[in-house]
């Protein structure tokens, strides 16, 4: 196994084991995403006939809000435990750190999506083909995690940590929001969703931000 992959796997295993023992991030993400779905039901009065148009947006916003909680914890927990310095002096490239944190958050997000999607189907009675929708949600999560981990590290270096992450992240992920909602609209048969290469857009976004994140990450975590 190449050293890069081995280093990433070691860091990923560490984060996942930590999460399995504390369940700090995932439990908050799952409960919050569920809560957002229920809140939307009251806020938008989600009747079944509305769901083919509004549904994808509701589900994706629940995912993004849930994911924001996990992303906010990514470096906060390292900082609280004093392990961030340890990671920084470890003889690994910064891009290894970025990819490892990206994969950790991606795993959290996919688990959250695997729970939220059935809940969404169950609560709102939307007929959904699970495979294409899960594929779209995965593509969305990849971009979300790449941008989120980068900005989580940026926000963690400022005075107002919790405030900065969403303010930095939300405008940048607008293309994912549009792509996921439109692609999912097509997948569940929403007539007003436009047939555009949304999946290609998502793949392009994911690729660009994974590469950009891996390159610029060393400048974010310098000291």
């Amino acid at each position: 196994m190449p050293p890069f992959a081995r280093q990433v796997l070691v860091l990923l295993e560490k984060d996942l084991r930590l999460e399995l023992r504390t369940k700090d991030a995932l439990s908050a993400m799952l409960v919050f995403a569920f809560l957002v779905l229920v809140t939307f039901n009251f806020a938008l009065d989600l009747r079944p006939e509305l769901m083919s148009t509004v549904g994808p947006g509701v589900l994706w916003i629940a995912v993004v809000f849930g994911a924001t909680l996990g992303l906010g914890r990514t470096f906060a927990s390292e900082r609280e435990q004093g392990t961030l310095e340890g990671l920084l002096i470890a003889p690994v490239d910064r891009s290894v750190l970025f990819i490892a944190k990206f994969l950790t958050n991606l795993v959290f997000m996919v688990v959250m999506e695997l729970v939220s999607l059935p809940l969404f189907v169950l609560l709102f009675n939307v007929p959904v083909q699970p495979l294409p929708v899960m594929g779209i949600l995965l593509l969305g999560a990849i971009g979300l995690s790449a941008v989120g981990v980068l900005f989580s590290a940026v926000a963690g270096n400022t005075r107002a940590r919790e405030v900065m992450l969403p303010v930095l992240m939300f405008p940048v992920i607008v293309p994912i929001l549009i792509g996921v909602v439109q692609a999912m609209g097509l997948a569940i048969g929403n007539d007003s969703a436009r047939d555009m290469p949304w999946v290609s857009l998502l793949i392009a976004f994911d690729g660009i931000y994974l590469a950009a994140g891996a390159i610029v990450f060393e400048y974010v975590l310098e000291e």
Partner: protein
């Protein structure tokens, strides 16, 4: 003490005063602004359908151009800062973000003033309006980021990262929003600027070109003064640290 006195002597020059080039630039900008205003009011012909409202166009389009130019300058300055680690580049980025946000705000406001009589609404989720607004948010976040990061060197680094990562998003946002906008074609019935420009009378085109030049000079002048002010701030900070020691 000698070094302190030397540093103290710098600010007057740093502010841009005394530099002949700055004086010429400022004078040219003021002169051209007057000329542009005169041309917009007296020289440019009255648009037959839109009437006098169309003259907003001579402010709106040049300001949109300057806004994009400003954010492009932020990108270049950010890359240069991370490469050279010279605070000079960070001052350019800092100044250009602020000027860019001001111009983007003005673009949105002048667009709304034009949209009310022509589209009968201040705002519509048209592709161009939407992507300009998203851009505005990204660079407002940049200003917030800098104000939340007291350490200058760290702020410069984080700012440079956002200056790069944010600008990469511009074409992606443009594509996504354009494709998304095709959902509701009925909402946008008014002609876009492109469609009116090619068959416009020469006076319109000449006025627009002069206004473009003027607005670019306004940007350059703002940048000279703004970077000069930032340089004074940086020097002031260094002096305070020196005095504190």
């Amino acid at each position: 003490m000698a070094t302190i006195r030397q540093e103290m002597a710098l600010p007057a020059a740093a502010a841009g005063r005394g530099s002949a080039l700055t004086t010429i630039l400022t004078a040219a900008t003021v002169l051209l602004t007057v000329v542009s205003l005169g041309m917009i009011v007296f020289y440019a012909p009255m648009e037959r359908v839109q009437g006098v409202v169309q003259r907003i166009y001579y402010f709106h389009v040049p300001m949109a151009w300057v806004a994009y130019l400003a954010f492009l300058v932020v990108l270049v300055a950010s890359v240069m800062y991370l490469w050279k680690r010279d605070m000079k580049w960070d001052r350019v980025a800092r100044a250009s973000v602020e000027v860019g946000v001001v111009f983007t705000t003005m673009v949105l406001i002048t667009g709304m003033l034009w949209g009310k009589p022509i589209w009968n609404t201040y705002w519509t989720w048209d592709a161009r309006l939407t992507s300009t607004l998203v851009l505005w948010f990204i660079y407002v976040a940049y200003i917030m980021l800098r104000s939340y990061t007291p350490d200058v060197e760290r702020g410069a680094r984080l700012g440079a990262v956002l200056g790069i990562v944010g600008f990469i998003d511009v074409p992606i946002i443009h594509f996504s929003v354009t494709w998304w906008r095709t959902l509701h074609p009925a909402a946008v019935v008014a002609p876009t600027l492109e469609r009116t420009t090619p068959n416009a009378p020469p006076q319109t085109v000449i006025t627009l070109l002069v206004c473009l030049l003027t607005m670019t000079l306004v940007y350059a002048t703002f940048m000279v003064y703004r970077t000069g002010l930032e340089r004074l701030r940086d020097q002031n900070r260094e002096l305070e640290q020196l005095a504190g020691r």
